[in-house]
């Protein structure tokens, strides 16, 4: 079983990111579970959401405390919360940032990737300048980083959740560009 934790802030579509990712993995033949941190969500406040995937039926119904991989939708969270909490050694970390973090020490022993999801989202008018909605860009980059699920499955999941064709296309474009652009740095 693989467990994934997404960090974000309320309003960035963090919960939706994990739902879309779960749907994409299901398309790709996995059993899946996805759920938010069981709490009270407020705009701008730190949010967590999770995906579990496995080849067999998932029986575990507990919180995710030791994820295999992590995604960070808002780089300001790197200064306020411990995003590597419980992360398994060699786990991947995807950060929404145009550049690598200056201080790489906290990521020692993990694998790093980053993508400029804000720019990708804004170019497609996803969200606003102050509140870009980066979730579809992030899952596109995530799929490239983990080499699964296939980009076609991501696109299919987005189509299922966005009934309006033009909105679906903008989000699929974002996922595709992030997939192509993500900078896979690897082990720190």
């Amino acid at each position: 079983m693989i467990e994934i934790r997404f960090h974000g802030r309320g309003g960035q579509g963090t919960v939706v990111a994990t739902i879309l990712l779960a749907k994409a993995f299901f398309q790709a033949g996995y059993q899946v579970q996805s759920f938010p941190f069981f709490g009270v969500e407020r705009r701008g406040a730190p949010v967590e959401a999770y995906v579990r995937l496995d080849k067999k039926k998932i029986l575990l119904r507990t919180n995710v405390t030791e994820p295999d991989h992590v995604a960070v939708q808002d780089q300001t969270l790197l200064h306020s919360i411990n995003i590597t909490r419980g992360l398994k050694p060699s786990g991947w970390i995807l950060i929404n940032s145009p550049t690598l973090p200056v201080d790489l020490q906290p990521f020692t022993g993990f694998q790093l990737a980053h993508v400029d999801a804000n720019r990708i989202a804004l170019q497609r008018r996803l969200g606003t300048r102050t509140h870009p909605i980066v979730n579809t860009s992030m899952i596109g980059a995530f799929a490239r980083m983990l080499e699964m699920p296939p980009l076609a499955a991501i696109a299919e999941a987005i189509r299922e959740d966005f009934p309006v064709e033009t909105e679906a296309m903008r989000n699929i474009d974002a996922a595709q560009e992030a997939y192509a652009e993500v900078n896979i740095v690897g082990r720190i």
Binding site: Q33, F35, F38, V40, I58, R61, T62
Partner: protein, 389 residues
């Protein structure tokens, strides 16, 4: 077709497929997602149902009692404080023999204000005359909600479908959503046995003296007994069409088990994982999952537990001054059977705490290593509590 659905949405899809005619609800976390979707369905024409917004849960149940009395299929959903506020009218719905169906998302009661899972809210309604079913995953929630209408309308008693807050209500997983024509074959339109009708005027709910009241109560008791049999019929009919069956209880590896976990809700699912690990170590463990709580399937429970030495009851609830509520029910069910297993009562996961495979295995070893319980109720993980100076 299998879709990745939230537990709450699995309930909503079942209500859509059951072609419910009147829905009333007052929003409360963690139930809100159920009626959010249903209100959309009522607005956009996906459902031809009337959605009644009300100022409280008490009014909500009153509205449904009125609607169901004129002969339409009704539904509501609530949680925690909302269910507590409905309490008076829960008795009324059952006493009036109205087959109302409700989804109840288990939420802890305040104070402290807590939106997370705890079964005390629904278990505190055990004597209201509602049928209660506790579900383990999204598929069971969807299937049980569809079945609930048929069972309720067969025995003329209301049904509560109970699901854990968040661990089930807010968890997305693959769920097979049947086609409407398939469900139509299973669930015919509601045909009331009695109703308020201006063409044939009659009155319900008037004063009943001691001469008749007790007989009326006895009829409810008989209907509950009948519900146990009809539950099986409903499951047979459902399985014939959809090839899925849950049982009033499910015995997992119980045949040769010396220690059997008693579980309900999502804890069962996690416990299946713990059981696999215990069995791999050669431990003779089993699980008896209790789905149907009212009517309580006493005969089946006695039969499944007859060879066990000990049972470990997991209660995500508590009756202050007594014990975990499932443990009480198990003790009562077993006490008149000779050589019954020793009952160990464990309280775990209250107010949304995790019940992990590790915690369940700890419960197993505590049970195995004690001849008799040291206490009536063993509260797990309570050392985590920190008191202020």
């Amino acid at each position: 077709m299998k879709r990745v659905l939230e537990g709450s949405h699995a309930v909503a899809e079942a209500v859509r497929l059951a072609k419910v005619q009147v829905i009333s609800a007052y929003p409360i976390t963690p139930q809100t997602h159920i009626v959010e979707i249903l209100s959309q369905y009522c607005t956009n024409g996906t459902m031809k149902a009337k959605f009644l917004r009300v100022e409280s849960e008490h009014s909500c149940m009153a509205a449904l009692i009125g609607a169901q009395s004129v002969g339409v299929r009704t539904f509501t959903a609530t949680s925690g404080q909302g269910l507590a506020l409905m309490h008076e009218l829960l008795h009324w719905a059952a006493g009036a023999r109205l087959p109302i169906v409700m989804a109840e998302v288990n939420r802890a009661l305040a104070p402290g204000w807590n939106i997370w899972v705890d079964q005390t809210d629904s278990l505190a309604q055990r004597d209201t005359g509602w049928i209660q079913m506790y579900c383990e995953d999204g598929q069971e929630v969807l299937d049980s909600t569809i079945q609930a209408f048929l069972l309720a309308e067969t025995v003329n008693l209301p049904v509560m479908i109970v699901l854990d807050a968040f661990y089930l209500s807010h968890t997305y997983e693959p769920v097979d959503v049947p086609e409407p024509e398939e469900v139509d074959r299973f669930l015919p339109p509601f045909a009331p046995k009695f109703q308020l009708d201006t063409a044939q005027p009659c009155a319900f709910g008037s004063l009943v003296g001691p001469g008749d009241y007790m007989d009326m109560r006895y009829q409810i008791a008989l209907a509950m007994d009948d519900a146990l049999i009809r539950f099986g019929d409903v499951e047979d009919a459902f399985a014939a069409l959809f090839n899925r069956r849950y049982g009033p209880v499910e015995a997992i590896d119980c045949a040769d088990a010396e220690i059997i976990f008693i579980t309900s809700g999502t804890v069962t699912s996690t416990c299946r994982l713990a059981l696999q690990e215990l069995r791999a170590q050669g431990e003779k463990a089993g699980i008896l999952k209790i789905k149907l709580f009212r009517p309580f399937p006493v005969d089946r429970i006695r039969k499944e537990l007859q060879a066990a030495k000990k049972i470990a009851v997991i209660d995500r609830n508590f009756s202050f001054g007594a014990s975990g509520i499932f443990a009480q029910e198990l003790r009562a069910a077993l006490c008149n059977t000779p050589r019954h297993p020793v009952v160990f009562g464990y309280v775990a996961g209250i107010g949304g705490r995790d019940v992990t495979p590790e915690l369940l295995k700890e419960i197993y070893w505590l049970t195995k290593n004690s001849e008799v319980p040291q206490k009536e109720s063993i509260w797990m993980g309570i050392q985590e509590v920190k008191y202020a100076d």
